[in-house]
């Protein structure tokens, strides 16, 4: 494998292992398994303002392009989504697997597909961020028992706006909402106004999020658009929090308004879309490191709430995918070690990472 090849040979090699896509996304099939496809950088900015895992963002910046591998779990999900019956209640899909096997990136693949198909995306990049490290908890004005998280809510609203710009003017609010004595949102005004209000008035951000979610749920059932709810780290919704009230007693997740509203979204009492989620031990609180099975991470409450769902296992690379990943790194001149392209070197990498995508990525960073 040439490390310093001429530009033309390099692009030629790239074509062999990659499937350049934009239009062809919808045609991802079994034969494309193991191959990479490129996401245009423009899309990355709009569809994934906050969605990609941080190491992948760094990789995108280094390589100058975002390439995702087409893998079986994502293909399976895409197959289900293509054949969704929008009259039936939303089906819940749960991606689970060990640490570093590619659940978040599979979720991103699915999100990109749906974005291209013009669905409305509600993407919560990491639900664990909402249950920990929040210094400013306000008591909610809407409901005395609950707590607001203005910072998290406003950041999420900003990113939501970036992703779904075009829908915000189309969707109309169907109810009148009162912010306070002087301000209110009238019936029939576009959803964009609610979002603006939430971003501008940080105090009302959480309530704005609640309104957005409620309206989207109601209106997707009417069939105006397809709604994809994508939550990463869904086990945070039914776990424990590390937040405490002023008198040092712990806060339960249902006392947080954001979590409460999100739980309502995860119920399948609406139709016109789908719910895709991943389990994540990485950000989870009070769970052992090697827990990855649904019941272990969700707990009894979570399982009962999500039941019935379709669990999809994301596993380590199979030999073909591993080979393809190494080729990708080699072509981008990421592996500088002289033995990296030899058979012995590849076997060593396979052994050291045990075909775990996350581990492999970390190992190759040193080479």
């Amino acid at each position: 494998m040439l490390v310093l090849g001429s530009r033309s040979t390099r692009t030629m090699l790239k074509e062999i292992t990659r499937l350049v896509s934009m239009v062809q996304k919808a045609k991802h099939g079994e034969q494309h398994e193991g191959q990479h496809y490129r996401v245009p950088l423009q899309d990355v900015k709009t569809v994934f303002p906050h969605g990609l895992p941080p190491r992948f963002v760094k990789q995108v910046k280094t390589f100058g392009e975002a390439c995702l591998m087409v893998r079986k779990p994502a293909l399976e999900l895409l197959h289900y989504l293509k054949n969704t019956n929008f009259a039936h209640p939303a089906v819940r899909y749960l991606l689970y697997g060990e640490k570093g096997t590619g659940k978040t990136l599979s979720l991103c693949h699915v999100i990109h597909f749906c974005a291209k198909q013009d669905w409305l995306i509600v993407h919560i990049p990491d639900a664990h961020l909402w249950v920990k490290n929040c210094p400013d908890l306000l008591q909610s004005t809407y409901n005395r028992q609950r707590f607001d998280q203005p910072l998290e809510a406003s950041t999420w609203l900003k990113n939501f706006k970036t992703t779904n710009e075009r829908f915000l003017s189309q969707i109309k609010v169907q109810e009148k909402y009162l912010w306070n004595k002087r301000e209110s949102i009238e019936k029939g005004s576009p959803l964009g106004e609610v979002v603006e209000q939430g971003i501008a008035r940080v105090k009302n951000a959480t309530d704005a999020v609640g309104i957005v979610l409620k309206e989207l749920r109601r209106q997707s059932s009417l069939g105006l658009f397809h709604l994809l709810v994508a939550v990463d780290g869904v086990n945070a919704l039914w776990g424990r929090t590390t937040l405490r009230k002023e008198e040092k007693s712990p806060v339960a997740p249902e006392e947080l308004a954001l979590i409460h509203n999100l739980r309502k979204m995860m119920k399948n009492d609406w139709h016109g879309g789908a719910i895709v989620s991943t389990l994540s031990q990485t950000g989870s609180l009070f769970k052992p490191r090697n827990a990855y099975l649904p019941q272990e991470l969700l707990g009894k409450e979570g399982f009962d709430a999500l039941d019935p769902f379709v669990p999809i296992l994301v596993s380590n690379y199979n030999p073909k995918e591993f080979e393809s990943c190494i080729q990708y790194y080699l072509e981008n001149s990421w592996l500088q070690h002289e033995k990296a392209h030899t058979e012995a070197g590849k076997k060593e990498l396979l052994f050291l990472s045990s075909a775990n995508p996350g581990q492999l990525e970390r190992l190759c960073a040193y080479l």
């Binding site: 054949n83 009259a87 039936h88 209640p89 399948n268 099975l293 669990p311 296992l313």
Partner: protein
Amino acid sequence: MSEAGGEACPSSGRERAVAFPLPFCSVRGLGLLGGARPRWGSVLPTWSSHALASLLWKHLTDAPRHDVFPAPRASPNPDTTQRTSRSQRAQRRKALPPRTEKMAVDQDWPSVYPVAAPFKPSVVPLPVRMGYPVKKGVPMAKEGNLELLKIPNFLHLTPVAIKKHCEVLKDFCTEWPAALDTDEKCEKHFPIEIDTAAYVSSGPSIRNPKARTVTLRVKLSSLNLDDHAKKKLIKLAGERYCKTSDVLTIRTDRCPLKRQNYDYAIYLLTVLYHESWKTEEWEKYKSEADMEEYEWKNSSSEKNILDTLLQMRAAEKTSASGEELLATKEVDDYRRSVVSLKNEGDSEKTLSQYKESVKRLLNLT
């Protein structure tokens, strides 16, 4: 075995004061060879007291020397101040080789160690090492190893010795009943097993407080219990029940006598059995958290699936009642997969079963 301390240092022309007998050396040489216990009393060789006194005097009056290595020496003429000549030195009794070198491989071991005895390195033919080694060293050998002496040894209770004991004890036993030749028959006719221990020791009193414990073991499958009674008994027994082997173990030692403890254990078993058959008023408030295993009926999972299916039917404009939906084969499959998932936990098998059943229910291809 090396000679006693006397020869340990080369003579090399140094004058040697008459040896002052050292206790250690002589014990090594004489005391433990073939004896039952070290005769610490007989430390000194059997010399006349006169010889002893003159030795002592000699030692005290002579000028002190740095190169004196006192050694036991059955010196032929202790009175002289001259060096012992070669012929006289040759008569000194040499230490005999240890008994282990003369032992046959198929010897009768119980006669070597008939009773509990301390570890004798010259009698035990095993190359045993014990002790924490120094850096770049190995554990100490058995000769003169105090660690091996400190620990209890069971050299007198080898399987051969025990077989011999049993042969002797057989004369005091009765025959095993011929009808009870399999374990199942024993369990069927004698489901309750009682374990007691008796202790014998030499001492002023024959009583031993440990002898009063009584352990009663019974398999619950041999008791006449229905489903509710079994669950209640297991809850009442708590830690005394082992799920994998289905054995209830009751261990009592609160009474001073073994007889009393045995009666108490039988009483406990009777009480447990009868109480578990009764149903109390407050048992009808048993909630989901108290259940031992997952029950599908009236669970949230049942409600969820029912809601989902009703919504699906409503969307398709076909109506169906709850009972009809619950009776279909797909829902039954789903029920079984959820029950196995909850009771057995997550595994590839249970999760894939669950996945298939959900896919079939929700009509996903």
